[in-house]
Amino acid sequence: MSEGRPLLEVQGVSVRFGALLALSRVSLEIRRGEILAIIGPNGAGKTTLLNVISGFYHPFEGRLLFEGRDRTRLAPPDVAALGIARTFQNVALFKGMSVLDNIMTGRLLKMRGSFLLDAVWFGPARRQELEHRAFVERIIDFLEIQAIRKTPAGRLPYGLQKRVELGRALAAEPKLLLLDEPMAGMNVEEKEDMCRFILDVNEEFGTTIALIEHDMGVVMDVSDRVVVLDYGRKIADGPPAAVRTDPAVLDAYLGVSHEVA
């Protein structure tokens, strides 16, 4: 029934912080199975948009539909329960926990049982733990981080932290995966690895992915479609090749009027 519809529809969403209009009537859709890149200059409202989708901010006008159902006012844990996982711009890992435990927290929504059962009735709780552990080991293999599974996340270099954070998001088996600058602060080699993982996730698990990225080269390589934001408004939406030559996009990025240039 909802197969023909986009996975997520953002309809005329506006967000205001005091006097600043961070998003102004932004509409876009994220289609099933695609990799969508959201780009734009600093302060364009990219992260704000991601925060709206994951429930951290609520728009004062507009709606969000996920699988055709209105979910504009849901709180973050409820958004997560719908099957939307995300990573953060500045890596939000649980620093004191091992890599394995970090990724295991991503499975929390998949685990069942009550507080009391967990505390006193060990049998079923243990069996469940083992099943999830096996799944997490698959993710660890997939991301090629076997060697660091017991290392506290806080001690890892930045590039690996980003990879572990991706693993934690994947552990939730999301329908929609939101990545906030997955390659920021990485060297070329790390960027190539991350690109490969993103493409593999999309291909092997069929996960729909929306990512924010600055590196135009990466965006062109990875994404099926690109949405461009500038000053809180959407100025372009289309395949990478078309967006790259769009006059409005060039204006926004180069800061000059296209006609003059």
Binding site: P77, A80, A92, T105, L108, D118, A119
Partner: protein, 310 residues
């Protein structure tokens, strides 16, 4: 006799009379585990919500008062225990609704102030419900000593120590190995990330406050059986403070080891070196030790060291 030899003389006593030293040590361990129990309540709440709960001591008092009050009204001990547990869980739900939820995302100092307010409220509320007299709490274990292998051991203290030990071990396993334990640690580390994984903050807060309340019951019973249920009970929370500084605010094992070090340390210092300075070492030993720790290792023995990447 010079001052140095006066300081060293107690070591001779220790060597000459090992049985007595063993008794002092056991007394110290017993007292230390009781401190650990109170410190544990702090650690649980601090780990999961970053709130320094000033009201932990009063929660211990409130739990003990409720238990004694119910027993005085003729409830059998098991029933009184169950009702007290329910009261502490209800209290946790109430605190989350009335205090934590409206103050979510406020600075830690604001939440800390709120728990000070909570302290005075609970003290007054407890007095209103159960009166302000000193009450005797009889748990059916006589406060008497027996000789084990030539060493005098207090039955009540041993029971308390054993209970505390079991509780602490159970909590450590719970935190490390279970789903909820992992969620609690996640919330403690990063609220936003925890939310994005579908961990409901409100539920987690109710759980930690309820567990802290239940730990408070055990601590309240142990302390109450030893020194009577009275309002000075809430002051033992102050003793938990140096324990936390020693062990680290975020570490369950740290709370235990910290409590043991302080318990054993202050007992030994009091018995052997007390006479040199006219006694009362027990009153300040813990705080001086904590001060020294703050200077040398501010994160405590087991605390997570906060390294800022620049």
């Amino acid at each position: 006799m010079g001052p140095l030899s006066a300081l060293l003389a107690p070591f001779q006593d220790i060597v000459q009379n090992p049985t007595f030293f063993a008794e002092v040590l056991i007394g110290g361990v017993a007292a230390g585990l009781m401190y650990s129990l109170v410190a544990l309540g702090f650690v649980l709440i601090f780990k999961a919500s970053g709130v320094f709960n000033f009201a932990q001591g009063v929660m211990v008092l409130f739990a003990a008062l409720t238990l004694v009050g119910l027993m005085e009204r003729g409830l059998p001990v098991p029933a009184a225990l169950v009702v007290t547990a329910l009261v502490m869980v209800a209290l946790a739900v109430g605190i989350e609704r009335a205090v934590l939820r409206p103050l979510v995302n406020q600075a830690p100092i604001i939440l800390f102030m709120a728990t000070i307010g909570l302290t005075f409220f609970l003290e007054g509320f407890g007095e209103l419900l159960w009166g302000s007299n000193v009450k005797r709490l009889d748990v059916g274990i006589p406060d008497e000593s027996v000789k084990v292998a030539g060493v005098l051991v207090n039955k009540l203290e041993m029971t308390a120590a054993l209970t505390a030990g079991i509780l602490v071990a159970a909590l450590a396993v719970f935190f490390q190995r279970t789903r909820i334990g992992r969620a609690l640690r996640a919330v403690a580390d990063d609220h936003e990330a925890a939310l994005s994984l579908g961990i409901p903050l409100k539920t987690i807060w109710v759980i930690v406050w309820a567990v802290a309340g239940l730990v408070g019951i055990v601590a309240g019973i142990m302390w109450g059986a030893k020194s009577g249920v009275q309002f000075s009970l809430s002051l033992i929370a102050l003793k938990a403070l140096p324990v936390l500084i020693l062990g680290g605010f975020t570490s369950v094992p740290g709370a235990i080891v910290g409590g043991l070090i302080i318990g054993v340390g202050e007992k030994t210092a009091e018995v052997y070196w007390g006479p040199l300075v006219g006694g009362a070492i027990e009153n300040w030993f813990a705080y001086v030790l904590a001060l020294a720790f703050l200077l040398v290792r501010p994160q405590g023995l087991f605390g997570e060291r906060i390294i800022e990447r620049v």
